[in-house]
């Protein structure tokens, strides 16, 4: 066994990834942050291929939803094509159309310039059943999504195992094994599809978190690797690829390997000490949705403002957080009379009047905001 936990006696080793969602837009973020997040998705592909190389895998299986949209922008597909051209020529890469980027006549998979850009060792699953040997002892069966939605199980199109077939049989499809009663899913995949189709490993994509289905049946494995770079805050175990090794007995050994740049996190700060603790963390590789709800006296208000300014950064200074989605409207200055003492009388009078308005429910929000404005202006003027 090598230092990176790779079984030296594996007869076949694959890297399984899915759900790259290149070109995803992240519409709730600010434009600059959206650019950062879009860029991170493309950069994650570098880590994916580096991992494939480092773990000396024999092939890379990409199980669908590689683009967020059937026809991504030019810079998106060109970016991927450039990265694919930089991969090892001896390691075949299989690209499977998923429900986000289905194989249609007007999708990227039918784009002649994109296809022309792909090197010879990159194979697009554009037929069904798609069958291709991997080395001498293994064969890949893949079925592409041909529409954005569908109710048929794609594994049904994979031929069953002939009893005389002793090869490692690998399935590659995109769909959902989620079978809660009353919940309709696209491209439903039977949980026992791997067994029924005589597969030694069923590589699937769709869910953004790493998952073995069903968890109580590890062999033959049916695996979601999840997205290599998270796409949302509520995802469970995103940010991985799966390295799967096969023994001579055709037994698959599954291992998730983290590749993500960003970790997505939500935080609600209601105590000053929480904010201070947050400021001490290294958040450069975090996508942080931060809601701050603090009612503070002047000293702590100044400190909180400074911390938040450090976290958020400005036009001429980078923030301490990779991507920060900040809701700081809950930071309220509750300055008493003594806090305003250093300011001129008219400012004190205005502050006192605004403070009186905060006692009225109908004017409270406006008055608190006005106090914040007044404090900022008066502090700057002083």
């Amino acid at each position: 066994m090598s230092a990176d936990n790779t079984q030296e006696d594996d007869v076949l080793r694959l890297l399984h990834t899915a759900d790259w969602h290149l070109g995803m837009d992240f519409p709730s973020f600010a434009e600059e942050q959206r650019r950062t997040l879009r860029r991170a998705r493309l950069e994650a592909i570098d880590t994916v291929f580096l991992t494939a190389s480092r773990r000396r895998t024999d092939a890379v299986l990409c199980a669908g939803d590689l683009f967020d949209d059937p026809m991504p922008a030019d810079d998106v597909w060109r970016g991927l094509a450039d990265k694919l051209k930089g991969t090892d020529s001896h390691r075949p890469i299989f690209l499977l159309p998923g429900n986000h980027d289905p194989l249609t006549s007007d999708s990227i998979w039918s784009h002649p310039r994109f296809r022309a850009e792909l090197p010879a060792w990159v194979h697009v699953v554009d037929s069904e059943p798609f069958e291709m040997p991997i080395g001498e002892g293994a064969v890949l069966y893949a079925v592409p999504c041909r529409s954005k939605a569908g109710q048929s199980d794609p594994t049904r199109k994979i031929p069953g195992r002939d009893p005389s077939d002793k090869r490692i049989r690998i399935g590659l499809v995109h769909g959902s094994t989620f079978d809660m009663p009353g919940v309709q899913v696209d491209f439903p995949i039977a949980k026992d599809a791997a067994i029924e189709r005589g597969l030694d490993y069923l590589a699937i994509g769709d869910t953004h978190g790493f998952r073995i289905v069903p968890p109580e049946r590890p062999i033959p494995p049916t695996v979601y690797p999840g997205t290599p770079e998270p796409t949302a805050f509520e995802e469970h175990l995103p940010g991985n690829v799966v390295v799967v090794g096969f023994s001579s007995r055709r037994e698959a050994r599954v291992e998730a390997e983290p590749v993500a740049r960003f970790k997505w996190e939500r935080a609600v700060v209601t105590q000053m000490r929480e904010l201070r603790a947050l400021a001490k963390r290294d958040l450069r590789r975090a996508v942080l949705h931060l809601v701050v709800e603090l009612r503070l006296g002047r000293a702590e208000y100044d400190e909180a403002r400074d911390i938040l300014a450090d976290l958020a950064g400005s036009d001429d200074r980078a923030g301490h957080v990779g991507v920060l989605e900040l809701n700081e409207h809950g930071v309220v200055l509750e300055a008493g009379e003594a806090d305003w003492a250093e300011f001129a009388e008219p400012i004190r009078i205005a502050a006192e009047r605004l403070r009186a308005l905060t006692a009225r429910p109908d004017t409270r929000a406006k008055a608190e905001r006005a106090i914040a404005h007044l404090y900022a202006v008066a502090r700057k003027s002083a």
């Binding site: 936990n5 954005k148 569908g150 696209d186 001490k280 008219p346 009047r353 905001r369 404005h373 007044l374």
Partner: protein, 1072 residues
Amino acid sequence: MKRLMRLAVAWFGCIERAEVTLGSGLNVLYGPNDLGKSTLAAAIRAGLLLPARSSYANRYAPWRHDAEPEVELEFVDIEDRAWRVKKSFSSSGSAELIASRDGVTFAGDVVTAREVDDQLRKLLKLGIPSPGGKGAPRGLPDSFLAEVLLSDQTSVDAVLKGSLESDGEVGGRVRLAEALQAVGLDKSLKDALDHANAEVDKFFAESGKRRGGKASPYARHKQRIDELTRERDELVRQRDRALMAEELVAKRRDEHDAAARALEAAETCLSQCRSALEAWRAIDAAEALARDAAAVLAEIEARAAAVDARVGVLASLDGRARGCTTELEARTQARTAAEQALRLAEDDVRRAADDEAETRRELQRHELRAKLAELAARARDADARADALDGLRSATTALAAAEQVTRELGAAAARTEAEIAEDRAKQASTLDRRALLRDVDARARECRAATTSERAAEEASRGLAAREDARNLEAGATELEAKAPRDLPDRAARMEIQNLERALDRAEAALGGVGVTVTLRPQRPLALEAIVDSAPLPRAVITDATTLEATRTASITIGDIVVIDVAAGSEEARRVLEEARRDWAGKGAPVLARVGASSVADLSAACDAADEIAAQIAHKRGEAKRRIADAEQHEARASMLRESAARDAPGAPPTGDREALDRELTAIEARGHGALSNELGRVEKDLIAIAARLADNEREQAVSRDRLARGEVDVASTRAALHSARTNVGDVDPAAAERDLAEERDAIARTMVTAERALEAIDVGVSEAKKNAAAALTEARAKLEARLAAQRTAQAEVDEARAAAAREQGALDEARRAIAGDDRATARVAADAREADAETLPRPTGPRVDEAALREASTRRDDAARSVAFASTELATAEGASTTTGGAAAKERHAAIEEAYHVACEAERELELDADGWMLLRDTLRDVEREQGQHLGRALAGPLHARVEDLTHGRYQLDLGASLETHAIDGIRVADLDDALKALSVGTREQLATLLRVTIAESLGAAIMLDDHLVQSDVSRLSWFRDLLRKAAAKTQIIVFTCKPDDYVSGDDGDDMMRAINLAPLVKRIEQ
């Protein structure tokens, strides 16, 4: 009035005519005493303030001339509009006010008469009420501002003692308050207000509505919300379409499932119907068999009962025969007695007749009697033959019946025989099939056991491999553990070290950019060691001046003489740096040294590497545990599979050819899972059914055979009886014989009657004696006849009884023969067995099923199958339609856009709250500003106090009230203002008054007229004032009337804002 442009006067006071054009800034109108400068000033006041017909103007009437004083002024109001006012003062005076659009020509609307002053006062806003109204002044109208801006040289105290309080109109106060707000506010309030105004202007239009348009702060949000709304609407449509398609698929799937369930139910129902029908058929057959058996039993019992009945009848007949015999014997005795009596009577008769006749008669009688005896014998013979014929007829009928029964029994036996043969053939073939299926089953179990054994072996092998993997992983973890660095600080300690480093960096950065230069000028060669900004310099010997440039620190060691530490920056910054360095040296550096790291980054890298190794160890151990768990699962599965294989192994190996068995097995399993066991079960059931049917048929056959045998015995006995009857009858036609016999019997009866009559005739003719004898004889004969008749009757009865008994005996014998083969016990057992068989058959639940119900169930199954086919088509159509929707991708995109939409709306709300906050802040600041500005004395204090302090070198200060009334003069310790004013010199009073007036005019941006206001001032203060006026002239027009222009104009003055006007050539005084 902002600026006076031109003044023209005619016949005003001492002036006949004058015309002066004025400029912006400072206008110094000078001329000698008595030229009429104050008159010109008065003309300006009159032109602006005095109604044309006011009697007050009488004082301006020209001296010794009968002319109306006229004044014409051209001026610019505070809104930069140009006006010309022309007044001619007298009791019938006139006035005219014309506006100009270009400031040059006055050709606008003309206002005349009294409206001129009304309009002028509105334009000037000096706090003077409109003329003629309530509170309107009489004489020359006056107000505090009129006093300030237009007062004459005698009004010094009026300014210092006056105030806005006494003005008849508030316009002056309002104007001044508005003007002073701009100059009198606190700086921070002003800054805040400016800022708030700017922000409010960004957000709101002048109308108070939120700004729209592209430049609006809302525009970006609105545009984003609009974009998101459009996209959201589109995605909602896509999502709804996807949901509708999914719902349709779900609905179609439910319908399909329901149809499939209905089909399954229909098939179950059909199957149940079939089973029930078969069961009912079996029950019916069993019950028919039971009924047949019961009928056989009943028949046997009926026959036995009939025999018993016949025995009773025979006994009765025997009794009757015995009775008849006894009667016959008695009657025979009576006849014998009658015959004896007859013979006696005949003897008597014979004795009474001759012997010959008697002998003849006797002969005749004898003959007749012999004939009668013969006839009686013939009658008995005829009766016997009639009986024989009856027996023959009965025997013939019985034989036909017996033969018919025998034929029927034979046919039934043949049928039963055929069924038995058929069942036996079927039983043989079914047994063959069962043997084959058992062989196939054994083969299947053998195959399953083999497969399960293989899987068990595979599982065991996987278990071993998993344990091997676990051992390898554990070994790897142990190896990594051995390699893992130790004594690294924990996360909290690392954080503390990073904080120390940051604190040190911040402290050093705080000194950054300050810089220090150290120049060493050695008096002799010196060995120099230096560390600049923590970087050591190469050691050197210096002889000349050497300069060291450091950003923050320098440490210079000169031999062993001295070490000089130089530090840049503030003391506080250096103290912080020293403290940070101490902290670093005490807490940070030792940790780095202990670990062998050269920097915190190295330490972090080492810690990260250690964390990575720890994670790998944990991962390997976790993986090892999982592999052990896997191994246990594999082993457990292997054990289970081995047990399963043992269970599956057949008791005996299959006997047939395995390949043929495999083919058979494959063919059977092709029909579906469990087909083999189903068929085996079915064959077993068939065998049981066949065996039951065969047993039934065999029992039936035995019964049939018994009945047939008995029938044949019946036929044989009947035939024997027939033969006997025929023998009795002879070879004659029974019908003809019966007819002949009847005729014969009739002839015998007739002959007997004739013979008896002949006999009676023989006896006729006997004598009376003989008559008595004859009568006695007759009587005897009658008695004999009666006795004979009785005897015959008794004999007939005896015969009849005996015949009946014989017949009954025959029938009884026949019946006994008939039941001789009956086995009542067997028949009862068979009947009970049939009944038990019928009762033991299971009764299907529910109503009885017939063929019609089966057909109905079959129809329902076919309908359900068609429904399933239709539902399948509909489902496929719905699934096809769903592929054209956006599916989950559309839903995910909708969710993302929905969130973005809410974020954008929230941002817009926050922006609106920001705007509302600014608006509220501005309004609040304005209120504060207004309240601050309403105190005009405080508002004016800013610009005024500095000037007064400068002018008086801080000796005095004016304390002004809210309406600009002078409360006190600070610096003079008297409470009363009058006393304070008196305490001041006249010059100082006029200077303070002028200063106040100029400051107010400056604040208003209004023209001010000063008429020799500083006549009592010394040179230095005149000079101070000159400078003040020049500065003030930059903001407002100042018109100075003076006889000493040098006080305002210096020789080198080239100021564009100052104009010196010599009035002498411009003013023509009225000739004395």
